[in-house]
């Protein structure tokens, strides 16, 4: 970000409703070296994101109305797999459109809308020209196609400045194209579900001289006192994560990848409580606190399935609502187990017939984990799934917009 706070600090942030006006497919007239010939623009709370299939790059911008009635979009660009990033400053054109935004209006998207300005490399002041013009609306994606972040915005080997399975990476995922997140769940020795991928602590994922051993051997106190994630974040609990996703993001779906059977019951309790809290918010008289986010407990192995059956029986006996589940490996079991989603691995191919069968039965399909552009293309066109888990959210979002088919809503036919 701009070291001195940039021009954003001088302006009044645009409202959430105004940001929606920027959503669409944009054609680039300048700066295609950076972003390619076209890009998807989507928004989340406080952020306008430009998403491309060129090196899975993205631009994350804040938007504000300046005292001189110009509207500035300011932030940074980044290629996650390369150590390349820089500053971006754009202005809304034509001036009349900027004035209408500054007057608090919410203009309808149109081909009149252009944003132009410049980008730079590293901390350098942006001087290279960048200009985009609104071309058409985005295909339906909210609640339709789940661009699912693979344990956060980036891989551990990427250069995003956030660690996988941290709350910080989930906030970033919301800003760079994801509308759902897959997170890995393990339990500590004292039975608290936390986010962590590997069974053991290693220098790839954590720092700390006294941070050694296996997750299952250590209590939450021991982990939090002695370990930080690679970029200094705390190892989050599932409870903290669900709270942050509900209150601080617009993420629409959470895929709780159960790595250990012991975690199923406590995680299902947390999911159930979070879903009940959102339902209460949606049913009260205050529309401002409404929040809808699906939470799926993902069954990954036979051992986890056995634990899920026990957890379901326990919750039912207690009169607690059972959260929805996703089954990763057998499409036949999805419905017989009462799950709502199938999560196949990409290695078995697009499996279009199975995807259609699950859909006919009222379920959804979310493939894991596809990062390559060619594979994303073939799964989008052949399987037409409801979502894909990927570490390249910007790439996946833009490819879906270019060649994907919006999955039908429940009750709709294709």
């Amino acid at each position: 970000m701009f070291g001195d706070g940039g021009m954003l600090r001088l302006g009044t942030p645009l409202t959430r409703d105004q940001l929606y006006s920027f959503e669409g497919i944009f054609d680039l007239s300048q700066g295609s070296d950076l972003l390619g010939s076209d890009a998807s623009v989507r928004t989340s709370s406080g952020t306008v994101s430009i998403l491309t299939d060129k090196d899975s790059g993205y631009v994350v911008l804040g938007a504000a109305c300046l005292p001189d009635q110009r509207v500035v979009l300011e932030g940074y660009w980044q290629y996650p797999t390369r150590v390349k990033a820089g500053l971006v400053r754009l202005f809304v054109e034509p001036p009349e459109l900027a004035v209408s935004l500054c007057n608090g209006e919410v203009p309808a998207p149109s081909t009149e809308l252009r944003v132009s300005g410049s980008y730079g490399n590293g901390d350098q002041y942006p001087t290279m020209p960048l200009a985009l013009g609104w071309a058409r609306e985005l295909k339906p994606w909210r609640g339709r196609f789940f661009t699912t972040a693979h344990h956060g915005a980036c891989e551990a080997t990427d250069h995003c400045g956030v660690s996988q399975n941290s709350i910080e990476t989930l906030r970033l995922a919301d800003r760079i194209g994801s509308n759902a997140v897959e997170i890995d769940v393990r339990t500590t020795r004292d039975g608290i579900p936390i986010l962590f991928h590997d069974p053991g602590l290693s220098s790839v994922l954590v720092d700390g001289l006294f941070c050694n051993g296996k997750i299952a051997d250590l209590s939450l106190a021991e982990l939090r006192a002695n370990c930080t994630l690679r970029y200094g974040e705390a190892i989050p609990t599932v409870s903290e994560t669900l709270d942050a996703l509900i209150d601080e993001t617009e993420i629409e779906g959470v895929y709780l990848d159960m790595k250990v059977a012991e975690g199923v019951l406590p995680t299902a309790r947390l999911a159930s409580a979070a879903l009940a809290e959102m339902q209460a918010r949606n049913e009260n008289d205050d529309p401002n606190d409404d929040r809808r986010m699906g939470i799926l407990v993902a069954i990954t192995t036979d051992e986890v399935l056995a634990a899920w059956r026990t957890a379901k029986a326990t919750l039912e006996a207690e009169g607690v609502a059972v959260p929805p589940c996703l089954l990763e490996y057998d499409p036949e079991l999805v419905l017989s187990e009462g799950c709502v989603a199938w999560g196949p691995t990409w290695t078995a191919g697009p499996q279009a017939a199975n995807v259609a069968k699950v859909r006919e039965s009222g379920g959804i399909t979310v493939f894991w984990t596809i990062n390559q552009s060619d594979f994303i293309n073939s799964f989008l066109t052949q399987a037409k799934p409801n979502g894909i888990i990927s570490s390249r959210s910007a790439l996946l979002f833009h490819r879906y917009q270019k060649i994907g088919t919006p999955p039908p809503l429940p009750g709709e036919t294709e």
């Binding site: 020795r189 004292d190 608290i192 053991g200 602590l201 290693s202 220098s203 954590v206 720092d207 700390g208 001289l209 006294f210 941070c211 050694n212 051993g213 296996k214 051997d217 250590l218 209590s219 939450l220 106190a221 021991e222 939090r224 006192a225 002695n226 370990c227 930080t228 609990t237 409870s239 903290e240």
Partner: protein, 221 residues
């Protein structure tokens, strides 16, 4: 009790580390001629099964993760090792070494949090290193390289409860020795050692004294 024995071991390790410098400088002058003589001339068999014992202080690299919680932290520990080597008449000598290092200890004050009540947490980090390797001697210097397995043991005491966990990362070590004393019965080396257990991010160095002697000789002196 465990803490007291660790302190005693550490003090002994410090003494042996300090002794390295004085012994090496004093012995160099006396033993220079003998060390340069071939093994046959010193009355030693051309090959033998050699046992060595090492002891010295260690320094572990890295920092505690949460400085805000850290009350105290000591990165100086002690390393002791036992090695068996086949001293061959050829250039390289195969060896197997088992080391134990009490590496670091610390105390953190944890506030109340999602884990429940806060309190004082004690941490101890130690490791066993089992390391096959090879060594070679060049004049008074001996270089040993080993690749093996570390058994990293992390222990905590929190609110009166003790807990520990172990990891088994691959380890590698490089040992550089300087022969300070050499006679028919005993060789004394001053040793510098660097050990890394990369998977657990445990890396440390040690300076110590090593005593070597033949337990089984092969061939005539």
């Amino acid at each position: 009790m465990m803490r007291r024995s660790r302190l005693a071991l550490r003090a002994f390790g410090m003494l042996s580390g300090a002794a390295v410098l004085s012994i090496s400088s004093a012995a160099v002058a006396q033993e220079a001629a003998a060390a340069e003589a071939p093994a046959e001339a010193s009355g030693r068999a051309p090959s033998a099964l050699e046992l060595s014992l090492s002891l010295g202080p260690s320094v572990v690299f890295g920092e505690p993760a949460n400085p805000a919680y850290t009350q105290s932290f000591d990165r100086v520990g002690v390393l002791a090792s036992l090695a068996v080597a086949y001293r061959s008449p050829y250039f390289l000598a195969p060896s197997l070494e088992v080391s134990y290092a009490a590496l670091a200890e610390g105390e953190s004050l944890l506030p109340d949090g999602p884990w429940g009540a806060g309190g004082l947490m004690e941490q101890q980090l130690a490791t066993w290193v089992i390391s096959p390797g090879v060594s070679t001697e060049l004049w008074r210097f001996r270089v040993r390289l080993g690749i093996g397995l570390a058994v990293v043991s992390q222990s905590y005491t929190f609110l009166g409860a003790e807990n520990s966990s172990t990891q088994l990362p691959v380890s590698s070590q490089l040992v550089l020795g300087f022969k300070a004393l050499d006679n028919d019965l005993l060789r004394l080396d001053a040793e510098a050692r660097v050990v890394t257990a990369q998977g657990a991010a445990v890396n440390f160095a040690s300076l110590g004294l090593s005593a070597r002697f033949d337990v089984i000789s092969f061939g005539q002196p």
